[in-house]
């Protein structure tokens, strides 16, 4: 049984994963992608689907079914311009890493924290690979300066 705090935090995490899922869905539909790029992004998309569904299962009747529209619109604008695609995706993954990590500070259940941690390590891997699409600068792949996402 989830505490009220954990329910609230997981609900927000689910909203973010739904938003990421929809943003990746938009990107994989782009014609400018190579086959390998599409394959990789389709895989990343499937991961966000898995995270959203796992959180959905945990939350049960308290689950949320909507993405965060303001967040979605903001990123969609960036993703619409071809040169910005990789940078915008990197920004999304880094923001998810920061936000999920911050939520672990307040999540009461150790098991739930462990689940979020298992998501964070993969989203960090996504970010590292996305960074290599635009630069050979190691710092871009390793450092995360994104702020915590908040509900607007």
């Amino acid at each position: 049984m989830l505490s009220a705090t954990d329910t609230k935090l997981l609900g927000f995490a689910q909203t973010l994963e739904l938003t990421a899922r929809d943003l990746y869905q938009f990107v994989v539909g782009r014609k400018s992608l190579s086959e390998d790029e599409r394959q990789m992004l389709t895989q990343f998309h499937s991961h966000h689907v898995a995270y959203e569904q796992t959180l959905n299962g945990l939350l049960g009747k308290n689950s949320v079914s909507k993405r965060n529209d303001s967040l979605y619109t903001g990123f969609l604008q960036k993703l619409s311009e071809t040169p910005n695609v990789w940078t915008a995706l990197l920004q999304i993954e880094n923001a998810l890493v920061t936000t999920h990590t911050k939520s672990i500070e307040s999540i009461e259940s150790a098991k739930v924290s462990a689940l979020i941690a298992s998501i964070v390590t993969i989203e960090a891997r996504h970010a590292a690979i996305l960074a290599t699409m635009t630069s050979t600068n190691l710092s871009l792949a390793l450092d995360n300066s994104e702020s915590v996402l908040v509900v607007s």
Binding site: S34, I122, A124, R125, A127
Partner: protein, 269 residues
């Protein structure tokens, strides 16, 4: 009267002696007064009692620090070996940056341990070194190994995965939510290290996700090997090829009860 043949008599007496020996070997029983009428064969070894230890947050943090030093030592060896040349020169640059990161991580987790009243731990985990790293380096640096350069990258990749998994694993064990977040804040960067090294070992976007070897069916190294961060053991394939073409596979596991850095554990000189 029961008539027994000589053969049956011998079998019965043999069984009696055997069961007597078993009982004797069982040693003392609760509530039984030892009057020395039962013979004990051999000497039972004297066992040293286990130290009274507790897996505290500080122990988990000290263990994490020890792995950071294992990673630093691995990169130091890789750089000193002068194997990272040619195409692998970029890995030398990565190694330098990753070493700095590991030093920062070690400082951070040691600071957290000290805050909890524990002593900092500034050396590698000796069991991880003895069981995994030293044997791996021995295989890698064998003079007949034609893959020593790329194998040392594979070892670094395995160590990064080990570190990432350790931090991910301790999230569930740490009692303080703030420490859980601190742990994964470091763990996620180890995962990034691992992802970048995976692309050196198995390059190309098609190999970012999970793939398998066409011949053996074994999973290839992947930057993003699964949907969720795995806590399964890590396979490290290294060394010169055997006559059948296969190579040595070592299995690495995150620190367990016998490799945690408990309060009484001190760095070995």
């Amino acid at each position: 009267m029961i008539a027994l043949t000589r053969r049956e008599l011998l079998r019965l007496s043999g069984a009696s002696i055997a069961s007597g020996l078993v009982l004797a070997a069982c040693g003392k029983q609760a509530g039984v007064i030892d009057d020395n009428t039962i013979t004990i064969i051999g000497k039972s070894p004297v066992t040293a009692p286990l130290a009274d230890v507790e897996v505290t947050d500080a122990v988990l943090l000290r263990t994490a620090a020890s792995l950071e030093y294992n990673a630093i030592e691995t990169y130091t060896t890789a750089l000193e070996s002068k194997l990272l040349t040619g195409d692998l020169r970029k890995v030398a640059e990565m190694a330098k940056r990753f070493m700095d990161d590991h030093q920062q991580h070690a400082d951070a987790v040691n600071a957290l341990a000290v805050k909890l009243g524990a002593k900092e731990y500034r050396c590698g985990n000796s069991r991880i070194n003895d069981v995994y790293l030293a044997p791996a380096l021995e295989i890698i640096t064998e003079s007949e190994n034609p893959n020593s350069a790329i194998d040392i990258v594979a070892l670094a990749h395995a160590v990064e995965n080990l570190a990432a998994q350790t931090y991910q694993g301790v999230v569930e064990l740490l009692s303080d939510p703030m420490l859980r977040a601190d742990a994964i804040r470091i763990g996620q960067q180890e995962a990034r290290h691992a992802a970048l090294l995976a692309q050196v070992l198995n390059p190309g976007l098609a190999n970012v996700g999970p793939t398998s070897d066409a011949k053996t069916g074994k999973p290839n190294i992947a930057a993003v090997p699964s949907e969720f961060g795995s806590l399964a053991n890590i396979q490290l394939t290294i060394g010169k090829p055997k006559p059948d073409g296969s190579r040595t596979t070592l299995i690495l596991e995150t620190p367990s009860l016998n490799s945690l850095v408990y309060d009484f554990v001190a760095c070995q000189a």
